[in-house]
Symmetry: C2
Subunit: 663 residues, 2 copies
Amino acid sequence: MFDIEVAKKEIPFNRESLESTLKSRFFYAPAFEAYGSVAGLFDYGPAGCAFQANVVDQWRKHFILEEDMLEVDCTMLTPYEVLKTSGHVDKFSDWMCKDPKTGEIFRADHLVEEVLESRLKGDQVARGLLSNANEQAAEDAEKKKRKKKVKEIQSVKLEDDVVKEYETVLAKIDGYSGEELGELMVKYDIKNPGTQGDLEPPKAFNLMFETAIGPSGQLKGYLRPETAQGQFLNFNKLLDFNNGKIPFASASIGKSFRNEISPRSGLLRVREFLMAEIEHFVDPEDKSHARFKEVSDLKLKFLPKETQQAGSTKPIEVSIGEAVSTKMVDNETLGYFIARIYLFLIKIGVDPTKLRFRQHMANEMAHYAADCWDAELQTSYGWIECVGCADRSAYDLTVHSKKTGEKMVVRQKLDEPKEIEEWEITLTKKLFGPKFRKDAPKVEQYFNELTQEELASKSEELKNSGKITFKVKGVNNDEDIELDDKFLTIEFVKKIQHVREFIPSVIEPSFGIGRIIYAIFEHSFWARKEDTARTVMSFPPQVAPSKVLLVPLQSNKELSAISADIAKILRKEQIPFKIDDSGASIGKRYSRNDELGTPFGITIDFETIEDGTITLRERDSTIQVRGSVKDVLKAIREITYEGVSWADATKNLKVFASQQDEE
Amino acid sequence: MFDIEVAKKEIPFNRESLESTLKSRFFYAPAFEAYGSVAGLFDYGPAGCAFQANVVDQWRKHFILEEDMLEVDCTMLTPYEVLKTSGHVDKFSDWMCKDPKTGEIFRADHLVEEVLESRLKGDQVARGLLSNANEQAAEDAEKKKRKKKVKEIQSVKLEDDVVKEYETVLAKIDGYSGEELGELMVKYDIKNPGTQGDLEPPKAFNLMFETAIGPSGQLKGYLRPETAQGQFLNFNKLLDFNNGKIPFASASIGKSFRNEISPRSGLLRVREFLMAEIEHFVDPEDKSHARFKEVSDLKLKFLPKETQQAGSTKPIEVSIGEAVSTKMVDNETLGYFIARIYLFLIKIGVDPTKLRFRQHMANEMAHYAADCWDAELQTSYGWIECVGCADRSAYDLTVHSKKTGEKMVVRQKLDEPKEIEEWEITLTKKLFGPKFRKDAPKVEQYFNELTQEELASKSEELKNSGKITFKVKGVNNDEDIELDDKFLTIEFVKKIQHVREFIPSVIEPSFGIGRIIYAIFEHSFWARKEDTARTVMSFPPQVAPSKVLLVPLQSNKELSAISADIAKILRKEQIPFKIDDSGASIGKRYSRNDELGTPFGITIDFETIEDGTITLRERDSTIQVRGSVKDVLKAIREITYEGVSWADATKNLKVFASQQDEE
């Protein structure tokens, strides 16, 4: 039996060769190449676009259809206020440093990293531990697809404790604030590596693309950095659509944007990208999942935060059931999605040995998140975050609700009424109008939004001084307002609750489709040992851009007619195919399609004219079998859409020793 | 037999009722409603999103798969230079007038239209021909979903010739330039209708959203106004992918953007919208189409430009074959796509009686276009352009090629070499370097881009005066340059051509998916005469958001278990379905799903427990039949995915007289 894993290992992976295949078969290309192209923008050609469409189709089936999710399609244009509330206006930034003389702009963390790395290299040269430092640096830069900023390694020995210090800084490089990066730059005298000119201190550069909506130019907007906010803002409508019941999930597939300071690493870091995101709304007091038992035995590779803190990258392999029961993974719903993410990625062609789930460290995680795991895929650029799976708690709904005054809650009838005690405020509304006039609603809203803790403290104030003092934005010029107890009372009262009202938590699996696609390109790529120029993309048939190549043996009327008949059947059955009736040799025609990842080839030859049989060729093994058109198409359909194995699907077809293939 | 067309006519269409259904079933909603929403931005909810996904899926099958088109996915972010070349920076504008006192902004053509219309109304009141002018104006405004700018109709009689003049202006309102609109405003004394304040003259407002790419803010970009430019710029790669052969077509499905001055008419005029565009590249000397005969007998309704110029809106109904042979439609390829557009629209639920093809008038059409037809759909807002089908000639490839210096041509080996005579320029390159230094390539490029006509005239100049005078942008401060005949010769020479090189023409069918979807909403909507509150969306099963509603008769363990089993089969077969096990009556549950357009209902009742049979309900007729799970699901599959009729698919199922339904 042909073993593709063996074949993959025989010729070491070569990124240049992959890139050449991706380019020549137009999977993707830099956008606007005729105009010199723009960093971080890529177009998908026919092969990449079909592959992407198939991945999205599988995603929709695996998640949306399978779990009855509510798909929504929200706008990319997003007004300022929404992203101010979500925190993106203030926090969705990288740090950049400008050279005031040359106008060059550097991303601060990358610059510090590169300069310290180059000094460590220079130290090793000085210590005689490294001879070809410059060559190696060039190679490293190439590996990371970075334009080198540090052009040459200087042989300078460092003190031992300086080496240690640099190494510590590098290990923590992803966690520094802008101020800290600025301090590091001063402390280690980091300048423009090209000119040795001074740099301005790091400034936050917001990564959202800004634009103006409408003709006045006064409504500031952004291109969304994620699809999530649109889903949150439709929560009430979705809850209503779901008859008021939770848990339920919404989902969205669409483009998002990130104005990278200096994009690199091809498809892995781009300015416009396709995302698929799920927002699963769940009771914060019950994060169990009805279907968890279906996946609980699945073994996965985990890199929990403790392992990382101990400086190790060796993953723990346990079942997701165990991971949840030991609390390594916070809850069942999070665990369920981690398992489903795994199953999805494997289905579309990710190599399971190159997939791990890495937990976010405390300092990486948003303050509100309960837990967060990334599905990371190993590529020649290192381990790349391709799917995030976070428990965002009730953060987003809470902030939007608070900002807009629109309640975003679930109401559940309690089986038994419950007695509770709580602070209750009563406003003497008829006094509010005369005192505050048009501002009265604002003041009332201020009181309605007070938390239990705030009410308790205001009650104390009212009791002690007979009045309370407070401020409301936009009222009384933002100055103190005083009200006495004629205006309001605050009491601790007993109440019977019939309905429980709560803001749900959100579990968010978030997929970067382009990154996953690139990782699959690497995982699927190999070269035949007979001829390393003959490369193959071993995509699973389900996601392969085209499923079948029709090859009439020669340019001949009869053969063409049969090929047209088969094409008609394939078209009717909606099996994507291509015909190659060019003059090229059979071997060459198949080779081209191996590079496109087309799993099946059909040859129409002179025997076909006689007895109606055709050959079916399997891409990876190049094995050929022969049978009637009907039987061959049945085999293709079963393997591609019904998950039947090649061996089972072709067991009634005759093995065929080809004379003409593979020349 | 139940006749849906009769049912539709019994209760007149009511847009308010439709909008209420679309809202309550969350087909779509204004985006960011909690934040007060933004005009022209809409989110699709689960029903609308699934409908949209099905329409896109059908589009992909009908066009891309059926015709082997090359789908590409290009970026929305587009650099300035590209859209400058395409003409969008200079011409993609509407005219706006600002009131300098209030800051209000009006779209000039809409303002002129509204003011003149209101004066004509006022004239009719003065003449005693109209009594309730203000009410009617309000109604008209509501119909057009416009905010009324003119608040009140003044009863003022106009001279007869003024009435005539106003009417002429209104008939041509779409064709005025900004300057002309400004002149009309002065001539007719048109001011801010609210304040009677003076307005500034109309200024062009570019409808593209602008943004800055990268951290320096210096790379200006736009959100694309159409997907076409990305396809043109990939022409060479696509031609290569297609082994150098034409005709072939590329296609793209994705969002485009248009910063409307004041959006209105719901989904019909929005700022962010889904487009599906085809660029079919064809030999300008042979625009025949291989599959034209398959559609040539199809009869369609045409509104050619001559009919419109004669002031008529009565369409001509002829076959597309005749339309092409009489040259009413310019060529076969354009005709083929017009027919294919028709077939697509009908398949997804457009009412054929509300569909016509309107030809662009000479003044509407871009100067380079050879012919252009819009598929217009009739809605309560009038006839709406939903698909454009234009022959753009070789314009786009020519301008991009000229701008970037990248040739975008097809090369065809000639069967027989051809002798041609043409002007040829020969540069003495060794003299160019010393004279022009770094500018030499620019000057050489200038000469390489000269057309045959220009070469002929330069040759004349050189012959007469021994030198030529010309300008090159960026060279010699843009001043005149002189060269004598030592630098170049221009001769009329005979040549043998073996290869024909040409820039292909482009036929572009361009679909506004959101507009089509809204028109289908109107065309599919009706109310039951028994109870007009019970509305129905009669989508074709193929595009209906969900296909089946599973309804267990009562809340009961056994019924739920059976319903879960059926759900499992449906999920496996990837037939979208919903379960409604709420306590609501069967009739209510079906009603809700009639509004969602779900074509089939399955009731699981106590008989099911006994004999395994279920009922199948058809949405429009509410007819029910009964049979085994297997037979019922087979019928659903055949009707939904294989185009079998209800009568044929259910002929072996028993008609079922329901007791519980439709209460």
